[in-house]
């Protein structure tokens, strides 16, 4: 069997998770570098149309792993299904997005297969025949290049925003799709999940936002949030915040960006009065463009900003709102 890379994309209720495309981009890059064949798989119940969607991209083949027991998601069913499938295919590399779901079943899967996962990677390097996977350590203060010292299949999970999902290459023709019916014995699945629900009424999925205006401690008072909101509205973006703002109750928790909030990779992230503690950075460094406005020229946010303004946000944001409105009006 030729060496292959298997990307396992993630779906929720019949929709592919956006970060799946990032992992597929990573797979395409690794396939080009190693010369290994790239294949993809999607697991669930009734996932043929999702497999077809993936088959439009540059992949050699897509597998739809089907079992009624894969819906709703449980770690027992996913680990059992993927173990069967991966053991039969023996890919060299298995790539997955580092989502909450993947964190939930992959350590179980790799243990059952007597393998290991290098989790939460932000990139890879090829050194001769050796593949190194780069991950952050000590909350981003240090980085590490990690290799496998066990046999393949090697499992790697990639952090949200590590690769560009919009850079995924389309295929010249649709790749073949094969449905694989997975048998999962009764009694394997022990957990009984209930319906998924949202706690906050106006809960917002910031991971899907293209433009995010985010506020930090520099906004000073709750009433000043309005200014950031006006800028977000003018830009047609979403409003978000760092942890202290949500802890103070100035914005709901579901608008929090960072390690304990959402991880986003929008086209534009505009940070207003955010110093850039690592807990925040991990949630937004994948943004394509970062603009930071902060009074403190030493603020770590400037380390990762594309455009930086050292100054008072209360002086700069009001004229900016006017300029955005003018630009939108076509002036």
């Amino acid at each position: 069997m030729a060496d292959s890379i298997l990307v396992i994309v993630e779906q929720h209720e019949g929709k592919l998770n956006r970060v799946s495309w990032e992992t597929l981009t990573a797979g395409q890059a690794l396939a080009a570098e190693t010369g290994w064949t790239l294949e993809a798989a999607v697991a669930g119940s009734g996932v043929a149309s999702l497999a077809n969607e993936v088959a439009g991209k540059k992949v050699a083949k897509v597998y739809a792993l089907e079992s009624p027991k894969l819906e709703p998601y449980t770690p027992d069913a996913f680990a059992a299904a993927l173990k069967q499938f991966i053991a039969s295919k023996q890919p060299k590399l298995v790539l997955l997005p580092h989502t909450y779901q993947v964190r939930d079943f992959v350590p179980k899967l790799v243990t059952a297969m007597e393998r290991a996962a290098i989790s939460d990677c932000i990139g890879y390097k090829k050194d001769g025949n050796k593949l190194l996977f780069t991950r952050q350590m000590f909350q981003g203060k240090l980085a590490a290049d990690v290799t496998f010292t066990c046999d393949a299949p090697w499992f790697v999970t990639f952090q949200n925003g590590a690769f560009r999902g919009d850079k995924v290459e389309a295929g010249s023709a649709a790749a073949p799709v094969e449905t694989v019916n997975i048998e999962i014995a009764d009694g394997v699945v022990r957990n009984k999940p209930q319906e998924v629900f949202k706690e906050a009424k106006q809960a917002v999925d910031l991971t899907q936002a293209e433009i995010i205006v985010s506020v930090g401690r520099g906004i000073k008072e709750q009433k000043n949030i309005e200014l950031a909101k006006q800028l977000a509205e003018a830009l047609g973006g979403e409003l978000a915040a760092s942890r202290p703002i949500c802890d103070s109750g100035w914005l709901p928790m579901d608008r929090q960006i960072g390690s304990s909030g959402q991880t986003v990779a929008p086209k534009l992230y505009l940070a207003l009065g955010i110093s850039g503690a690592i807990q925040h950075i991990v949630g937004m460094k994948g943004a394509r463009t970062i603009i930071a406005i902060n009074k403190d020229s030493e603020a770590p946010i400037f380390e990762i900003a594309d455009y930086a303004v050292v100054g008072n946000l209360f002086d700069i944001v009001p004229p900016m709102i006017e300029e955005v409105k003018k630009a939108k009006a076509g002036a």
Binding site: T99, Y100, R103, D104, V106, P107, K108, V110, T111, A112, A116, I118, D120, R135, Q136, M137, F138, Q139, G140, K141, L142, A143, A144, D145, V146, T147, T149, N191, K192, P193, Q194, V196, F197, K198, E199, A200, A203, V204, L206, T207, L235, S260, Q262, K267, L268, T289, I291, F302, E303, I304, Y307, V309, V310, G311, I316, V317, P319, E323, V324, A327
Partner: protein, 256 residues
């Protein structure tokens, strides 16, 4: 209800880290603290014990300094502690750490095992789930609430993007606990005094050696991340800077 809490000692959040000579790990001469998510796991175990009675046992792996984590846990109300004491435990991967824990508790009968959702040093977010698989137990991750039910537990899992889910599961089980699930308590003076007389079992590397193997992954090089961005600073009076920013939004970022 007998609960085991897996805890880890990690460098303090704001500790300046220096690389060792081979650039494979940090120099050990830093200040340490309890891994924050593990503190929430301990607090949750103590609250469950207060509701349902039982016993809370804490376990850690690491050199002598790691005992501090166990002493603090005992002072907060844990009943006893297990210390896998050897500096070699620091460099074990998630798989081997879980194997060492499983070996150290093989003669115990727990109903629940808690871990924090991830560690602040490695950040693999794997040890708890690996331990569940080694024991053959069900697990659930990133837990925000735990209730006892007839025949098991009902837990609230945090999902992404503001979603949650209740999951019913049998016991025994492993749960990884999300930070912020509860409000942490402080150790009392009486607690600190009592902790000195609580049992602390030491486990040597030799006792669990047969359960662990070679690491399945290896840190080849640890380093300070390179700044990759070429930051452009925009200067001038506010109105001018605002204009420049919006020009960038239109011509470079292309969102207008």
């Amino acid at each position: 209800m007998k609960i085991l809490v897996c805890m880890k000692q990690v460098p303090q959040k704001d500790a300046p880290l220096k690389l060792n000579e081979s650039s494979t790990w940090i120099r050990e001469d830093v200040s340490y603290e309890v891994n924050e998510p593990d503190a929430f796991a301990l607090e949750e175990a103590l609250r469950q014990k207060e509701k349902h009675s039982g016993e809370v046992v804490v376990i850690t792996a690491g050199p002598a300094r790691a005992q501090q984590v166990l002493r603090e846990a005992l002072a907060k109300g844990a009943d006893r502690a297990i210390h896998l004491e050897d500096s070699a435990f620091v460099s074990l991967d998630a798989s081997n750490t879980a194997r060492a824990f499983a070996a150290a508790i093989k003669d115990e009968k727990f109903d629940l095992i808690f871990t924090g959702l991830q560690s602040d040093d490695y950040g693999y977010a794997q040890t708890g789930v690996v331990l569940a698989e080694l024991l053959g137990w069900p697990h659930a991750t990133i837990i925000m609430q735990i209730e006892m039910t007839d025949g098991g537990i009902r837990v609230k899992r945090e999902l992404e993007a503001g979603y949650f889910q209740f999951v019913d599961m049998p016991l025994p089980a492993v749960l990884t606990i999300q930070s912020g699930i509860n409000k942490l308590r402080y150790a009392t003076l009486i607690g600190i005094k009592q902790a000195k007389n609580k049992p602390l079992r030491k486990v040597t590397l030799a006792e669990v050696q047969s359960a662990i193997g070679a690491n399945l992954q290896k840190i080849e090089r640890l380093y300070i991340p390179q700044k990759t961005k070429n930051t452009e600073f925009l200067e001038g009076p506010p109105a001018e800077v605002a204009k420049k920013l919006v020009e960038k939004l239109r011509n470079e970022v292309r969102v207008l």
